[in-house]
């Protein structure tokens, strides 16, 4: 009898432990709360569901515990489902929630009873779920096998969808560049079409034309001697700027002559002519000097002479001029040519 009583107590204890481990259900009045893991043992890093089930009267509001990012220390919550209500009977309702959890710490983890609250008869009541246990195992080590190197990450093959944005961007950039080139070419063509190319005139042509105009104006003859010399020196100074790249307009007569010498100008006769014109012009412009008519004429002629004799000589004319102008040159050239021929023959 005593032995049978002991066996009965033993079974009762085992069944109680069994119920505690796998049922975790708590009932208060008409409310029951149950929490359970999908599995009670997982490998480190495995993800499993932790489910919460509450059965309650339809008219009662039960408040679930609020979770942050962990269920308990070291058990992380990855996802939380919304609280789902399912009608069970006319009077009762099932309310479910599941949490996707994982753990990266091996060992046994205990989840204490979760607190649920509800209000009945104007009083806040609490109900706790049963505590539960989760065993987290590490990977078993097979020490019989050889140790291998860490494998590098595999290179994933490029897909068309990955390349597509680059392809489209490149195409668009090339199109924009081509369009810009085309636009600027068109614009240049239009400009060329409207403005015909006009070669710039050499400074001596401009200067000689201006001297002609000055002569036509007959300024000194009309007692405008100062204006006459102002214009005359201006023509010469602009010519010197174009011909010798001297900033003649911004420098005095003495400085102009000094700059001209520095350019390597070595025609003393022309230098003196220019010096005389500039010095006389300075006297007229700044010292109220009135030159003789002959001096006015000479100044203009000297200006013509200076420009004509300092203008750049065209290379074509150099070769043509002596041949056409002088018959003696022809005979001289023939003589030279004949001499060269005879020299060649004699040397052979």
């Amino acid at each position: 009898m005593k032995q049978s009583m002991m066996i009965g107590r033993k079974w009762l204890g085992i069944s109680t432990i069994y119920l505690c481990m796998f049922m975790h259900a708590v009932v208060a009045q008409d409310i029951s709360v149950r929490t359970f893991f999908e599995r009670d043992t997982i490998l480190i890093g495995d993800q499993i569901l932790f489910s919460i089930e509450v059965t309650q009267p339809r008219t009662l509001d039960v408040f679930f515990p609020v979770f942050a990012d962990t269920l308990v220390d070291k058990i992380e919550i990855l996802e939380q489902s919304s609280i789902d209500t399912i009608k069970a009977t006319n009077d009762l309702t099932h309310v479910n929630q599941s949490l996707l959890i994982t753990c990266f710490d091996s060992g046994s983890h205990r989840i204490p009873g979760l607190k649920f609250t509800y209000i009945t008869k104007n009083q806040e009541q609490e109900i706790f779920s049963q505590p539960s246990q989760l065993q987290v195992l590490t990977m078993p080590l097979d020490t019989t096998q050889a140790i291998f190197d860490i494998k590098m990450p595999y290179q994933a093959p490029l897909t068309f969808s990955e390349l597509l944005p680059y392809f489209l961007g490149g195409t668009l950039a090339i199109a924009v560049i081509l369009l810009a080139v085309w636009y600027f070419r068109q614009r240049r063509r239009k400009k060329v079409g409207y403005v015909p190319f006009k070669p710039s005139e050499p400074p001596h042509i401009i200067a000689l034309r201006k001297l002609d105009k000055l002569k036509e104006k007959r300024l000194w003859q009309n007692k405008k001697v100062k204006l006459y010399y102002t214009n005359l020196t201006e023509i010469l100074r602009i010519y010197l700027e174009g011909r010798y790249q001297i900033d003649a307009m911004e420098h005095t007569s003495e400085e102009i002559l000094w700059f001209l010498k520095n350019t390597g100008f070595n025609d003393n006769n022309l230098y003196l002519k220019l010096k005389e014109i500039l010095q006389l012009a300075d006297l007229v412009k700044f010292a109220k000097v009135k030159p003789l008519p002959q001096e006015n004429e000479t100044s203009l002629l000297d200006a013509y002479s200076f420009i004509n004799e300092t203008k750049p000589v065209e290379p074509a004319k150099l070769s043509e001029k002596p041949v056409e102008a002088d018959d003696n040159n022809n005979s001289n050239l023939e003589k030279m040519h004949n001499k060269e021929l005879s020299d060649n023959i004699s040397s052979k």
Binding site: T252, L283, F286, K288
Partner: protein, 331 residues
């Protein structure tokens, strides 16, 4: 060539009256080796009744040149060394009580001379500088209740040392403007310095002869005023001065942010006077653009105020003046 009568007459007179210039230069060259620009500037100041601010390092014969000039014209010369403890009374004079006469008598200061050398003017505080600059402007001194005219010619040559600026009192811009010329003295060249060494080693220090009297200078000044200046030259002077005020109007926009203030009307007046004096020194009865360009740097360099941007970019008034002269059309 037929000249108009007035120019011909002026030219002839200047030819005759400016003969002393060459003699003065000759006498000064006995004592001073080189420094041609300094000698020309001293004569310009003397002939156009303008005061001169000399800037140069010590030992460049500034004092000797001025003393020699005073000797050549038999002028009374005073040298005043400006120090931080100098008082206006030390300069202009004061009233002192005579126990013998039992009254206050006037003790005139060193400023009562024809040629004054104000050595290192920036070493004295503003009250002493003002006393001298007022005398320069008014050409008279009031001591007690009496006003005394200063000598004629009255030429002040103030020196400034460009180094050792610690403990100095720089002249305000308004007072610097009262100097007709600011002459920057540079080192002599190698040949000149060789001569200086030889003269000093031989201990041969020639003394200049006096060529003329102060009244001759006063007379020459009248002739300088008569030097003919054409309207074109006047226009050129105005273009130069106005371009320092409104550089943008003269295609020099780059200077707009570099010049804080340009030349005053006093700059135009002094540029015209100095050009006439330079023409006189060159024994001409008329001014040519060359004369304006020769004196332009000395007349304008202390009259152009530079901005912080210019100072940050190390741009000097010298460079601005050179650029202006190279940009403005010469008549």
């Amino acid at each position: 060539m037929t000249n108009q009568v007035d120019i011909k007459e002026i030219n002839a007179r200047i030819e005759q009256e400016s003969a002393f210039v060459e003699m003065i230069i000759l006498e000064m060259n006995k004592v001073i080796v080189g420094q041609k620009h300094l000698l020309d500037s001293l004569l310009i100041g003397l002939l156009s009744n303008g005061h001169i601010l000399l800037e140069g390092l010590p030992g460049l014969a500034k004092t000797l040149a001025i003393k020699t000039l005073a000797d050549t014209i038999e002028a009374k010369f005073s040298r005043i060394q400006f120090t931080p403890d100098l008082l206006p009374a030390d300069l202009i004079g004061t009233l002192i009580y005579s126990q013998k006469k039992e009254e206050f008598i006037v003790k005139k200061g060193p400023v009562f001379a024809n040629i004054i050398l104000a050595d290192e003017i920036n070493r004295s505080p503003a009250k002493v500088q003002s006393a001298l600059l007022e005398a320069m402007q008014e050409r008279q001194i009031t001591i007690g209740s009496e006003t005394y005219p200063l000598g004629d010619p009255f030429l002040v040559l103030a020196t400034q040392n460009p180094i050792e600026q610690e403990g100095t009192y720089p002249l305000p811009e308004a007072q610097v403007d009262r100097f007709m010329l600011k002459v920057v003295i540079d080192y002599p060249n190698m040949e000149e310095e060789k001569l200086i060494i030889r003269e000093n080693l031989a201990a041969v220090f020639p003394t200049p002869n006096s060529i003329l009297k102060p009244k001759d200078i006063v007379k020459a000044r009248q002739t300088v005023r008569e030097v003919y200046m054409d309207e074109k030259i006047e226009r050129y002077i105005l273009d130069i001065v106005f371009s320092t005020r409104n550089p943008g109007d003269y295609k020099m926009e780059k200077f707009t942010n570099l010049i804080a203030y340009g030349g005053s009307p006093r700059a135009s007046i002094n540029l015209a006077f100095a050009s006439k004096a330079y023409a006189f020194i060159k024994r001409r009865g008329y001014v040519i653009p060359e004369d304006v360009r020769q004196v332009c740097h000395d007349v304008m360099r202390h009259r152009i105020g530079l901005t912080y941007e210019a100072e940050a970019e190390n741009i000097t008034s010298e460079e601005i003046i050179s650029e202006i002269l190279d940009t403005i059309e010469v008549p």
